[in-house]
Amino acid sequence: MASIELRNIRKSFGAVNVIKGVDLEVRKGEFMVFVGPSGCGKSTLLRLISGLEDITSGEMLFDGKVVNALTPSKRGIAMVFQSYALYPHMTVYENMAFGLKLEKGHSKDEIRQRVEKAADMLQIRQYLDRLPKQLSGGQRQRVAIGRAITRDPKVFLFDEPLSNLDAALRVATRIEIAKLHESMDNVTMIYVTHDQVEAMTLADRICVLRDGLVEQVGTPMELYEKPDSIFVAGFIGSPKMNFITGEKAAAFNCTTLGIRGEHMLVKDDGIWEGEVIHTENLGADAYVYLEMGQEEPIVVRLEGAASYHSGAKLRVSPMEDRIHRFDDAGKPIR
């Protein structure tokens, strides 16, 4: 268990500034998710925290102590990599026990106990004797997590642990991680992803990064309901928030009007008219894509099945209390 504090952290590779001054506090036992578009510096920030990368300037504190110069193993962290990074020549058991064996002072029995406990937690006990290549992607990722658990770290770091898994597995493993966090609630976790569904479902708080800087930090619901900028608004939520500009927005006294698909109502007296260009039926609900003279099609989410033909005209209205208004600078007008 550790709180982590970043004070004006900067990182440059040669002449390129990648992290441009990040201040952030991650609380003890918190599940913090870093999201942001590709290349914004999420992985780099995580690696700075882990100690795998040197900090160019600024201070990193764990529980109030500066750790800038500490090696990863001394920071009491564990890390799960996108590519699993399992030792291919070791069995699952050896993979999980390797770190402990090297730390002096653990008896064989103790090691076995800890490995088995972690394995039970992740339901991979029956695979302990297999090699990584004999496991499926999801199982491998669980082993990687198990390896981290075994070390009993104060801080858990994840770098896009799910992006190599297929959709179904992603959902299942996501839930595993959430349960893990709940069961180990005094361990701080930091999780990098660019999938906003993961961010929403897992995070205690989300940190949205953009181009090496923190754009907004807050709980998922804060970000969903009160985004601090167009950037955050567009990033959080699925389907993506619709942005409407021009006259239609001006009517609401703003430059850009943001409205989510689920907050649009189809009514005969809808204030906007659009042409259906595509309908997706997902069973429980349906997405209707409308051409409304905006840059991108406008999505409307409907309960149950929808059966509009392409080309049909539809009138829709936004729910007034769910509108997000943004000014020229992309900042919300409240």
Partner: protein
């Protein structure tokens, strides 16, 4: 029922393989069979075409003397042959062992990132690019006891008390040959190992850093096991080559019995002495030895030539 596609591919495969197989059959298959055949005849170089079949007598024959003692003759009873076998094996073992170790060191260095790596990489390949006949001569010059720079250097650095006649004395001749061979082929080995090293994913080392694994431990517990497949293939190619070693020894110490290898002995019998049949026998035995080694190695080392054993 084979589809058109499959037929087309099999037809193409046939056309693609045939030229290569014909080329190999002519250039290697025929001479090879001929050598093997020669080993069962009494052929001499003065009369290549009038050879007569003598069965295994070039390999081993015996003669019961009047006293009743049996005398064994033939290559398998020839101490010179066994001496050559011993030399060859010794040479192959030490050269490959050293080349592997040194090659690993060099490969590790080249695998690190530092400035001027490209130049260093090229510099390291120089020994390998110099024709063997030239480098052998170069080294015999450098190893000379009177005007050789190695002795001079050794004396200046205080490593040697008196000049050593490297290639002359039986004790050092093998060492000299080994030095040259190791110098010459380590780069090749390093290259192959380097290729293997580069296939190890970087993130595994990061995982190890996080696990707190000391770099030395990382080498033995992670790098070495993971580079093993590449290493195995590199080693087998090198061993095959080392077992056939000829030109280096031929130039450096052609007549020293402490370095005479099977190939050198065979060459001597084939072309210097009037023993073409024995020479062929020795070549055939060498071939057999290499083949057996390869099979054993592939079998015991579980080298998977078909697809990689990761």
């Amino acid at each position: 029922m084979k589809s058109e596609l499959l037929q087309q591919r099999i037809r193409a495969a046939r056309w693609f393989l045939v030229p290569m197989l014909i080329a190999l059959a002519i250039v290697a298959g025929w001479p090879l069979l001929r050598s093997i055949w020669f080993s069962f005849t009494d052929v001499t170089l003065n009369d290549l075409y009038g050879a007569e079949w003598v069965g295994f007598s070039n390999y081993l024959r015996w003669q019961v003397l009047e006293s009743g003692t049996v005398r064994y003759r033939g290559v398998l009873a020839d101490p010179a042959w066994w001496n050559a076998v011993w030399n060859t094996v010794r040479f192959a073992f030490w050269s490959v062992a050293w080349e592997t170790v040194l090659g690993m060191v060099v490969a590790l260095v080249l695998n690190a990132e530092f400035r001027g790596r490209g130049i260093v990489r090229a510099a390291i390949l120089i020994p390998w690019a110099i024709p063997t006949i030239v480098s052998a001569k170069m080294w015999s010059w450098m190893l000379n006891d009177q005007f050789g720079i190695i002795n001079d250097l050794g004396m200046k650095l205080g490593l040697l008390s008196a000049p050593v006649a490297w290639t002359a004395s039986a004790d050092t001749a093998m060492t000299a040959v080994l030095i040259v061979d190791i110098w010459k082929t380590t780069p090749f080995m390093a290259l192959l190992i380097l290729a293997g090293l580069q296939m190890i994913p970087k993130d595994i080392y990061e995982a190890a850093d996080i696990d707190g694994v000391h770099p030395v431990k990382q080498f033995f517990r992670i790098t070495l096991p993971l580079v093993r497949p590449a290493l195995m293939v590199a080693i087998i190619f090198r061993v095959l080559d080392a077992l056939r070693i000829f030109d280096l020894i031929y130039v450096l110490t052609p007549n020293s019995s402490s370095t005479k290898t099977m190939s050198v002995l065979a060459q001597e019998n084939l072309f210097q002495f009037n023993n073409f049949a024995e020479g062929s026998t020795q070549s055939t035995l060498l071939f057999l030895l290499i083949a057996i080694f390869t099979i054993l190695y592939i079998w015991l080392g579980k080298v998977n030539f078909e697809g990689g054993d990761r």
